[in-house]
């Protein structure tokens, strides 16, 4: 346990040395803080539900830092609460994709033959369908709501994990320690869960981080199309959709959520790239100068 905490801390400090990864980390931290502390940080926490028609479409000012929307609600406050939705969608959707994709990838990677081929073909099929289109189809059939958005995203994102895990598992099979542990009599279960999985954790983590960004972007797109959680939920994508008819005058109405989405997605991408650099070279230790 202590080992894992140390390892995590080590990773964070190494990460901090990479400038763009640091920026990513800061952005994500900002996102998480906004979500967690929304009630505290918001200037008008009740505006998520209350309407103030008299205040509608006011410019950014001292009272309303990012202006008000068409209902007179404070854009800034709604933005902060929107962060909660964003994170929730991201975590659950990516989490579900992991739960589906990783086991499938492990099985497909471990076995050779028709099982593996079948599983990979299935994931190829899912990959071939554009995520947004499939998500729209699901949302249309089942109705717009938060759970349905999450469902749509999970169902379409898992193949990415399956692929990464499949490729890494196959590569790892050639490693001497896997072959030798098998020669010691280890069962496929033991090999896969106790040996392969820990050793491929890094690419999975990287893919998860990048997946968060991707998922959030798609969730915003779904929200924009009206397929996400219904009003008054302050989901960012829907907010942008609402703002369309008031552009370009009420520019803050669209700019705020737009910028939030942009920074969030970029944050996850930068973090993912940074993690990839940190986690890989740590495994590839450079020894002292080798000499013939």
């Amino acid at each position: 346990m202590i080992q894992n905490v140390n390892a995590a801390w080590f990773a964070v400090t190494r990460l901090a040395r990479d400038r763009s990864a640091l920026i990513g980390l800061v952005l994500i931290a900002l996102l998480v803080l906004s979500a967690v502390l929304a009630p505290v940080l918001a200037t008008h926490p009740d505006d998520v539900f209350e309407l103030h028609p008299s205040e509608r479409l006011k410019e950014p000012s001292g009272a309303h830092w990012l202006g008000t929307d068409r209902m007179g609600a404070d854009v800034y406050s709604r933005l902060l609460f929107g962060a909660r939705i964003t994170i929730l969608i991201g975590i659950i959707a990516v989490g579900a994709s992991l739960a589906i994709g990783v086991p499938i990838g492990l099985v497909a990677g471990y076995y050779h033959g028709w099982v593996s081929d079948l599983l990979m073909r299935v994931s190829d099929i899912f990959l071939a369908v554009p995520q947004v289109v499939l998500a729209i189809a699901i949302a249309q059939t089942l109705g717009p709501s938060l759970p349905n958005v999450i469902l749509a995203l999970s169902v379409t994102y898992w193949p990415w994990f399956a692929r990464v895990v499949y490729a890494e598992t196959r590569a790892l099979q050639k490693e001497v320690f896997v072959e030798s542990t098998a020669a010691l009599g280890a069962s496929p279960w033991r090999l896969t869960v106790l040996h392969v999985l820990p050793n491929i954790a890094s690419p999975i983590i990287v893919r998860a981080s990048i997946g968060m960004g991707f998922t959030i972007l798609t969730a915003a797109a779904l929200g924009f199309l009206g397929l996400g959680p219904p009003p008054p939920t302050p989901e960012w994508g829907r907010t942008i959709a609402e703002s369309r008819e008031f552009l370009p005058d009420a520019w803050w109405y669209a700019a705020a959520p737009g910028l939030a989405i942009f920074l969030t997605v970029m944050g996850f991408n930068l973090l993912g790239d940074g993690l990839r650099d940190v986690l890989d070279p740590r495994l590839r230790r450079s020894g002292p100068a080798r000499d013939g």
Binding site: F177, S180, A183, L184
Partner: protein, 322 residues
């Protein structure tokens, strides 16, 4: 007068072929890596398998171990046929028959500490309690000359030599009866090689092990093995007691092999060395005797008829004209 112990390992006409495929995945031929090998190893013995690259010695080791499935032939271990067992049954054999890779240190999971890595074989094969396992592991660790403190370290925190010892310890926790060593001293410096061989010897005594020692290095095999099998392109060409084979090699290939090894002191080997050409492509072996394309004694009969292993002068040789 005691009856000699039955062989611990018997290999009868073992073959392992790999399909050769062209760019379209179509099979265009066979790589006959091991093509009809028979040998016996008695308990407590050390048998050396020598030959150059492509001779099949490594494939033979892996096939006996079960890493490859035999294409043909039998493998009998302690009297029991093991070449055709199911995967699960085969896993149980691992307790008695083990395999050491060229770099035993690489057989350790880099993310596991040494302690759990050493416990693992016991967890797989026995129902010992944690305390009992702990006792076993510490005993083995002492046997390979490592301190208990290493149990809490990761492989990369140990030196290469220490990793090697841990890799060996891991296998020894199962108290195997026969251990196949695959090129264990390849690439090692002479003095390191000497330390490793000393370790193998002491372990053999301490654990009553039987070794099958695969190596391309003839001087190592001479120091470690009482019996030797010389392989060329998938077949054994000479088999017998090491001293006899080294003093009076009968097969032309064995003679060339021994003649090629550089010596320190005395006449330069290369001044007299005569073997020309390269070994043929293992995917396309010559008809009859496989060595005939490079053999100074080759005649018409060698192309037509493959020579069987026959007894000669205290060992067996596969040559028409030895």
């Amino acid at each position: 007068m005691s009856v000699p112990a039955p062989p611990l390992l018997e290999v009868v006409d073992l073959a392992r072929h790999f399909p050769l495929r062209n760019a379209f995945g179509r099979r265009v031929g066979w790589l006959r890596a091991v093509d009809g090998v028979s040998l016996e190893v008695r308990p407590g013995e050390t048998l050396g398998l020598v030959g150059e690259s492509g001779c099949g010695k490594s494939t033979l080791g892996k096939t006996v171990m079960g890493i490859h499935t035999p294409t043909a032939g039998d493998i009998r271990f302690a009297g029991r046929e093991i070449g055709r067992l199911s995967r699960r049954e085969r896993r149980a054999v691992a307790k008695d028959l083990q395999y050491v890779y060229q770099d035993p240190g690489a057989s350790l999971d880099p993310r596991w500490k040494i302690g759990p890595s050493l416990h693992e074989p016991l967890r797989i094969h026995t129902t010992l309690s944690r305390a009992e396992r702990d006792r076993e592991v510490r005993a083995i660790l002492a046997a390979v000359g490592l301190p208990d403190a290493h149990l809490d370290l990761y492989p990369h925190e140990l030196s290469g030599g220490q990793q090697r010892r841990v890799g060996l310890a891991r296998i020894l926790t199962l108290r195997p009866r026969l251990v196949i060593l695959d090129e264990p001293t390849s690439g090692l410096d002479v003095s390191v090689q000497a330390s490793v061989l000393k370790l193998f010897r002491s372990l053999q005594e301490a654990f009553a092990l039987t070794y099958v020692f695969i190596s391309h290095d003839l001087s190592v095999v001479r120091a470690m093995c009482a019996g030797i099998a010389v392989m060329y392109l998938g077949k054994i060409v000479e088999l017998g007691p090491t001293t006899r084979v080294f003093e009076t090699p009968r097969h032309p290939y064995t003679q060339s092999l021994l003649a090629a090894v550089p010596r320190i002191g005395g006449r330069r080997v290369t001044q007299d060395f005569a073997l020309e050409g390269e070994p043929p492509n293992p995917g396309d072996v010559p008809s009859g005797c496989r060595f005939r394309t490079r053999c100074p004694l080759a005649q018409a009969r060698c192309a037509a008829e493959e020579p069987p292993l026959r007894p000669l002068d205290g060992r067996t040789v596969a040559c028409h004209f030895a």
